[in-house]
Amino acid sequence: MLYSRPQIRLLLVLATMLLAGLGIREWRAGFPDAALRLERFDRAEPSAPLLPVDTTGGESGRTSHRGVNGALARPETRPVSAAPIVADPRPLDLNRATVAELARLPGVGPGLAQRILEERGRRGRFDSPEALRQVVGLGPKKLAALRDLVTVGE
């Protein structure tokens, strides 16, 4: 025998691979588009320049963002996610608010919130948000920042 068994096996594998290569080469030459698609199957398509989504809800151009209460509810592109985000908060009723609620107001810490409650206890109720001026530590500027966020209820 001229060749041993393993040698014949090796030659057979080589010949098969050459033959397969010949077939694949012919196929690639015959169907270049399909070959190219196969070659680039995992590449992202070069996309057309994207335009931002018009989130203003069909109104042309940009609209004024300011509404009656300094804010305007806007249509969303999707329902708001589960994030605990509350937009356009309702004013806080000073006569029902708890310390925790008061302490969420800008510029109001737990100490000031406590003093607001003490003032309410002393007066019985606030007649208007301006009455907050009587609380130690609440000046006109801080009150101006709070003015839109608070109200007085019955």
Binding site: A20, G21, L22, D42, H65, L72, L105, G107, P110, A145
Partner: protein, 804 residues
């Protein structure tokens, strides 16, 4: 496995432990010399007195000290370039230590071993390495070539944020103390040097592969054969990472074993004597290692391969663990800093895992009736994966959940592809036509490989991102792995292993479930020239405002800085991502953030321009609800009130003036995030009477002189001003004008270019401000209740307390 069969194991581990210790110890060479000498003398004395065992322990102690000595940073010679006073633009000469890396279309990275520089008319000798970034086209360059380059040199800066990769330290370990930048036409090669033959072979191989195969397949084959991944498309690269089979793209034991066994098999087939075969295989192996380059994984595999061939030559049994330890010892003595290299760690951990664990695993699976071939394949894959897991997490925050399974399919494809690739390259030398046929067969094989990897990567949850573990869970994990071979034989090992595993898991889970400290935390991240701010509310919600520079074909801060920072925090979900405006230094990094994290809502100003393309592309897939905000809107998030200060809906001349400006109030603390708002925008904000009086101002437009106008600052009166700006930025931000106006307004200025990330923490009563790069924290007493006016934040009421 018994310790006696790997006598080099204690030597290797103690030496490595010494190198690790050197990092803690700092530069104390003299102490270490004395310690080493003392321990070795004691060991000699002990041995002389006949106390063998104490002598051994003293010797091992001496080896630890020796490792620390080798691992501590070397003293720099007086003519080292980092010690010289160089002109701002300097002409340096030297030899290229590496092939140039083209990492973006117009940027090439060179590693230069400097030997001289031009000081006025004189040419002076110098030493040291510098990494140069060259912009624009250069003449063709190659490793080993001598060049002259006109560059600006400076110390590397990196991004100095909590728990993020320390780039300067990484460069320092490679002996690079200076980096520089210059233009391509200012790089002059001295033509005399032709590259050495291994590099010519490598280039020829890469060129042949590119000529014979279409783009993506050629890039993949270059990675498989030579570890050359620069041309690999991003999608393919990402898919291999996600599938947990990235190791086939790095040259490692896999390739070395294939080369050696192919040569061995081919020569044996034609009746060449065994010893000659081993010698030829060894020669081919050394040649292969030279061609693919000297990464630690290649050197490790080559040393081990040569030892195996030597055992064939000497007709002795080989001990794999011993060979691994010898390879490790040789590499670490030669280059101790390799110990920190992810490639070194991965290569040694995977190999040690296979040697130590594959046997027990195979036995375990076969006992359960698995066929031998499947049991062995799964065992090897698992044995490599387990010890590698903490390393992957520590360096890349990646945990591949399907790696073990994917490897079962990928390795049987990658093996034949690699062998056939080498055969095709050899055939190319003889006949191009025959080679072309082989390359066509190979093409189909490579497509199959890519399809498998792509499908594996497409499985949801194929890869998860987790925070880098600290040393404690890693130690527990390693302890559990060490016990595995004894699980079947000794009873107590099961309890101990499960205990260690539980400890490792509990420690890893702790950061996610630990209760917060009740503080509001605002981190102004160091992202170079750009902006990124993370607000963490004590109730849990998190807001990221802007994502720093990034995008395709440049350094993506979102991918490389923001994402690791958030993963390590650990953060899995961002309730809000807000974008001030779409310039690339604000929006560029957001694409990666939107891809990697669950985002609840995306807040925008509604105006988009160039720079935001990547973020816009990522938005639809992220599932984030988009919300366009305008001045006057208010949103509650937890206990924080967010007020939108800008834009007002009237289109501005400059897009900067339409920046989304957000004000956040939490208890008595407020912060104003101004984006790139310019003077026109500031004037209109004041006109509308927006609430701008604030405790902390994120200064507009990186401290440009066209922002932060005096009227605006007089209204804002911020006691604290944060400027997010890159060192040496071409816009010369922050400008002296803006800084002077901020100082006149009484603001205490913090800058990310000097201070690194700036972290502001508050519980409502006190304020902690940390400059991350300097490691200092200042404490301020807010005491908002005592003052009668909103001016509670004026500097005189701020009491500064330094905590050392």
């Amino acid at each position: 496995m018994r310790l006696a069969s790997a006598p080099l194991l204690p030597l290797g581990t103690t030496f490595a432990a010494g190198i690790l210790g050197a990092a803690w110890l700092g530069p104390r060479p003299l102490l270490l010399v004395e310690l080493t000498g003392g321990l070795l003398v004691l060991a000699t004395v002990a041995l002389g007195c006949g106390h063998d065992r104490p002598a051994l322990f003293l010797l091992l102690g001496g080896l630890v000290a020796l490792g620390a000595l080798r691992g501590s940073a070397p003293l720099l010679p007086h003519d080292h370039i980092s010690r010289l006073t160089l002109p701002p633009v300097v002409s340096v000469e030297g030899r290229l230590l590496d092939e140039p890396v083209r990492w973006a279309t117009d940027r090439t990275r060179l590693l230069l071993e400097v030997d001289a520089y031009q000081d006025g008319p004189d040419r002076r000798p110098a030493r040291g390495r510098a990494q140069l970034t060259i912009y624009g086209e250069t003449e063709p360059l190659g490793e080993g070539q001598r060049i002259r380059a006109e560059v600006r040199l400076h110390h590397p800066v990196g991004f100095r944020n909590p728990n993020v990769f320390d780039y300067p330290a990484h460069l320092r370990r490679d002996g690079i103390l200076l980096v520089g930048s210059g233009r391509g036409d200012r790089v002059t090669p001295f033509t005399a040097d032709a590259p050495p033959w291994p590099i010519r072979v490598r280039r020829w191989a890469v060129a042949t592969i590119r000529a014979q195969l279409p783009e993506s397949s050629a890039a993949l084959l270059a990675g498989l054969l030579l570890g050359e991944r620069t041309a690999l498309p991003g999608e393919t690269d990402e898919a291999f990472r996600r599938a947990g089979v990235y190791h086939v793209l790095a040259v490692s034991g896999f390739n070395v074993a294939l080369v050696a066994s192919s040569v061995f098999a081919a020569l044996s087939l034609f009746g060449v004597p065994r010893r000659t075969t081993a010698l030829v295989a060894a020669a081919v192996l050394v040649g292969f290692a030279l061609v693919v380059g000297g990464q630690p994984s290649v050197l490790r595999a080559t040393v081990m391969g040569l030892l195996l061939l030597l055992s064939v030559l000497l007709e002795r049994d080989s001990q794999l663990m011993n060979a691994l330890c010898l390879a490790g010892l040789a590499l670490l003595v030669w280059s101790p800093t390799d110990l920190w290299d992810p490639g070194f760690q991965l290569s040694f951990a995977a190999t040690a895992g296979i040697i130590y664990l594959a046997g027990p695993f195979t036995g375990f699976l076969k006992e359960r009736g698995w066929p031998h071939w499947l049991a062995a394949a799964v065992a090897v894959s698992l044995a490599a994966q387990l010890p590698v897991t903490p390393i992957m997490l520590a360096h890349f925050n990646q945990l591949s959940l399907i790696g073990v399974a994917a490897n079962l399919l990928v390795v049987p494809l990658a093996g034949p592809a690699t062998t056939l690739g080498m055969l095709a390259l050899l055939t190319q030398l003889a006949s191009e036509t025959a080679a072309s046929l082989l390359f066509n067969t190979l093409w189909l094989l490579l497509i199959a490989l890519r399809v498998v990897v792509w499908a594996a990567a497409a499985i949801p949850g194929a890869m998860v991102h987790l925070p880098a573990p600290s040393w404690a869970p890693v130690t527990a994990w390693c302890g559990a792995l060490l016990l595995i071979p004894y699980l079947a034989t000794r009873v107590w090992t099961r309890a101990a292993a499960s205990g260690l595993l539980a400890v490792a898991m509990a420690l890893s889970v702790w950061p996610w479930v630990s209760p917060g400290d009740g503080r509001l935390r605002i981190t102004f991240l160091d992202v170079g020239q750009g902006d990124a701010t993370l607000v963490e509310l004590p109730e849990g919600p998190r807001i990221l405002v802007d994502g720093g520079p990034g995008g395709a074909r440049r350094f993506d801060v979102g991918e490389r800085v923001l994402s690791p920072f958030l993963w390590n925090r650990p953060v899995g979900r961002l309730d809000v991502v807000a974008l001030s405006h779409s310039d690339s230094d604000h929006a560029g990094g957001l694409g990666a953030v939107l891809r990697h994290f669950h985002v609840g809502e995306f807040w925008e100003s509604g105006r988009w321009g160039p720079g935001g393309e990547d973020a816009l592309l990522a938005l639809p897939q992220s599932g984030a609800a988009r919300r366009v905000l305008g001045a006057g809107q208010r949103l509650w998030l937890g206990n924080a009130l967010i007020t939108v200060v800008n834009p007002d809906g009237q289109p501005s001349v400059s897009p900067n003036d339409d920046s989304l400006v957000l004000r956040l109030d939490w208890r008595g603390v407020s912060v104003l995030l101004t984006g790139d708002l310019g003077w026109r925008g500031e004037a209109r904000v004041l006109e509308r009477g927006e609430p701008v009086r604030v405790l902390t101002l994120r200064v507009g437009h990186h401290g440009s002189r066209f922002s932060s106008t005096t009227p605006f600052l007089e209204s804002a009166r911020p006691p604290f001003a944060i400027i997010s700006v890159g060192a040496r930025n071409p816009f010369r931000h922050p400008t002296p004008e803006a800084l002077a106006r901020l100082e006149a307004a009484g603001a205490r200025i913090y800058r990310t270019d000097r201070d690194g990330a700036i972290v502001i923490e508050t519980d409502g009563m006190r304020l902690w401000i940390t400059r991350w790069a300097r490691g200092t924290t200042e404490v301020f007493d807010l005491d908002p209740e005592r003052s009668s006016e909103a001016g509670d934040t004026s500097p005189r009421n701020v009491r500064r307390v330094d905590l050392g």
